[in-house]
């Protein structure tokens, strides 16, 4: 808490994994797979996974923030250090994003087919869409880290914004 450390985000990621595992391993919270029944989650399972998701996102962005912004800010301007590697990574990720976008559209066309009863392959659709979002996030992160000039301000406590 003293600075933008990595201790709490790491702990959040571990705790998130533990909550996911609890949701999966505990019989009472397990996804219901009764014969003939539609699988669904119990309320306890949903609660555990909701907290696990928040902690995962929080832990992930916390570690990323430490990498991108550092643990302590120092006022002034800090020049980025662009190199070939981030450029190559950006191009590769962009190509991957284009490929996944095409594949995502393909899953939508597949789901819009009356011959298969408008079947939605939800895990596949969401997996591809989720991967696209992660790649976009990575692209912005790479751009921020290696191509944006960082500036740290020391603003007066009594600013006149918004009034």
């Amino acid at each position: 808490m003293y600075r933008n450390d990595t201790v709490v985000p790491y702990f959040a990621l571990v705790f998130s994994a533990a909550l996911f595992l609890t949701a999966y391993l505990n019989d009472r919270f397990r996804v219901v797979h009764e014969a003939g029944a539609v699988p669904h989650l119990t309320v306890g399972n949903i609660g555990l996974m909701a907290f696990a998701l928040v902690l995962f996102v929080y832990g992930f962005i916390g570690l990323l923030s430490n990498w991108l912004e550092g643990s302590e800010l120092r006022p002034g301007r800090h020049e980025p250090e662009p190199s070939s590697l981030p450029m190559v990574a950006g191009v590769v990720l962009s190509l991957l994003l284009v490929m996944l976008s095409g594949f995502f559209v393909r899953t939508l066309i597949f789901a819009n087919n009356p011959e298969i009863g408008y079947y939605n392959a939800t895990t596949l659709q969401a997996g591809v869409f989720g991967a696209m979002m992660f790649i976009l996030a990575l692209l912005i992160a790479i751009y921020k880290k290696f191509f944006i000039e960082e500036e740290v301000l020391a603003e007066d406590e009594k600013g006149d914004f918004p009034w």
């Binding site: 609660g47 998701l53 928040v54 996102v57 006022p75 895990t123 921020k144 500036e151 020391a154 007066d156």
Partner: protein
């Protein structure tokens, strides 16, 4: 183009004022942003849902229900789920609601543990408490909308609590449910729909805006090291482009992770329980109501008396009185732990053992009350559950207090002192 716009709107001034506002950097600030992004996701997915949902229980039939007559609201959910990506979007809406409540709760814990509610931020703490209550109420009003047997039964638990409010119970149920909640009341779904998609979201938008404006005016509480770097100043990155980039990354990571879970685990498939029938399935309320449900489970049925024509029964004690006392307690926190000095920096939880152990005790109370919600499933006795709900939180709080004091020794109850020149002292 820029000059044309600048001539007419002075956007250069806007950039200098708004876009260069300094945002301090600390991982714990992202919890509030996750809450905000959940709300934005709810609005965006909610717009899609409103375009395809029919808020009515008139009987309809079609190929999606196999020719069987079902309520129109239920059928429209089957229709949404049949649209390409529709099931994922509906599930994402459902998951985003759970995540918003979980993130808001963790955000409040962070504010409490770091003392960020103190002078001058008391007002924003109060707005935050109302936001959490409103978010839960909004989620509750959306619960019955799929109009399947599960949703209707789970909503009934909340309905019965509201209807049990002394003197105003009937008025409350008339306002929220347009009368009695039953599979045949044709007015309930349109009423809940209107409250869920219009009135409560509008109120939430107003309160969120107020919360953000107050935060921007009062500035963040900063990590403690900032006092060493620039005393009396706000050390942070400008809103544009740096903070905006971080917010963009967070939003994309949030959407990516939540969408994946929403697709892999459809939160509320209506086919699992089917349309409402005379049979009531064994269901529990959502996890954020489970602690109240747990308290209701352990309060004896004979705790009941009449006063001025109103009945004060278990549903009043467990469903209304306890939550109201907790909300009032939360509202009072900034005034009970009042600070004359302006709170500028995050306090370390380890240096405030009473506050930290109190939070741990309250968390344990929620966990134990939630466990009481599984009384029948786990075969736990009432006596044991009373001990778990009342004694375990107190013991946990006391043990935490002793441990924190023992670990931090003389440093307890002293905020970290930073040296303004040279190296800073101990850290967490």
């Amino acid at each position: 183009m820029y000059r044309w716009l600048d001539d007419r709107l002075s956007i250069g001034k806007l950039y200098a004022k708004a876009f260069r506002k300094a945002f301090p950097v600390h991982h714990s600030f992202f919890l509030g942003e996750i809450t905000l992004f959940s709300f934005i996701t709810l609005v965006l997915t909610g717009i899609f849902l409103t375009l395809n949902y029919e808020p009515s229980i008139r009987p309809v039939s079609g190929p999606l229900s196999g020719g069987q007559e079902v309520p129109a609201a239920y059928y429209s959910i089957l229709y949404i789920d049949s649209l390409p990506f529709g099931a994922v979007i509906r599930s994402l809406h459902h998951w985003a609601a759970h995540i918003m409540i979980a993130a808001a709760f963790l955000h409040m814990l962070r504010i409490h543990l770091t003392g960020a509610y103190k002078n001058p931020r008391e007002l924003n703490w109060i707005v935050g408490v109302f936001l959490l209550v409103l978010a839960i109420l909004t989620a509750f009003t959306g619960y019955a909308l799929p109009f399947d047997n599960y949703a209707l039964t789970a909503t009934k638990i909340g309905y019965e609590i509201g209807a049990a409010a002394p003197w105003v119970g009937k008025l409350l149920s008339d306002i929220l449910f347009a009368g009695e909640l039953s599979p045949t009341n044709t007015q309930t779904i349109p009423r809940l729909y209107s409250i869920h998609v219009l009135w409560l979201p509008l109120t939430l938008i107003a309160l969120i805006s107020l919360h953000l404006v107050i935060m921007i005016k009062q500035k963040h509480t900063q990590p403690r090291y900032a006092e060493k770097v620039a005393p009396g100043k706000i050390v942070g990155v400008p809103l544009f482009p740096q903070q905006a980039a971080m917010m963009g990354i967070l939003f994309l990571v949030y959407i990516g992770a939540t969408t994946f879970i929403a697709g892999a685990f459809l939160a509320h498939p209506v086919e699992a329980f089917g349309p409402p029938t005379a049979n009531t399935p064994a269901v529990k309320p959502d996890w954020y109501f489970l602690w109240i449900y747990g308290i209701l489970q352990i309060i004896p049925a004979n705790w009941r008396f009449e006063f001025l024509g109103a009945t004060f029964g278990p549903q009043f004690w467990g469903g209304i009185l306890v939550p109201t006392l907790i909300i009032l307690g939360a509202l009072a926190i900034p005034f009970l732990d009042y600070s004359k000095e302006k709170q500028r920096y995050l306090e370390l939880p380890s240096r405030h053992p009473f506050r930290t152990s109190f939070v741990i005790g309250v968390l344990m109370f929620y966990i134990m009350s939630t466990l009481a919600g599984y009384k029948v499933d786990l075969g736990l006795s009432n006596e044991l559950l009373w001990v778990l709900v009342l004694v375990v939180p107190v013991v946990t709080g006391v043990v935490s207090y002793i441990l924190i004091k023992a670990i931090y020794g003389k440093e307890w109850n002293q905020e970290v002192q930073v040296e303004l020149r040279g190296k800073g002292p101990a850290t967490d």
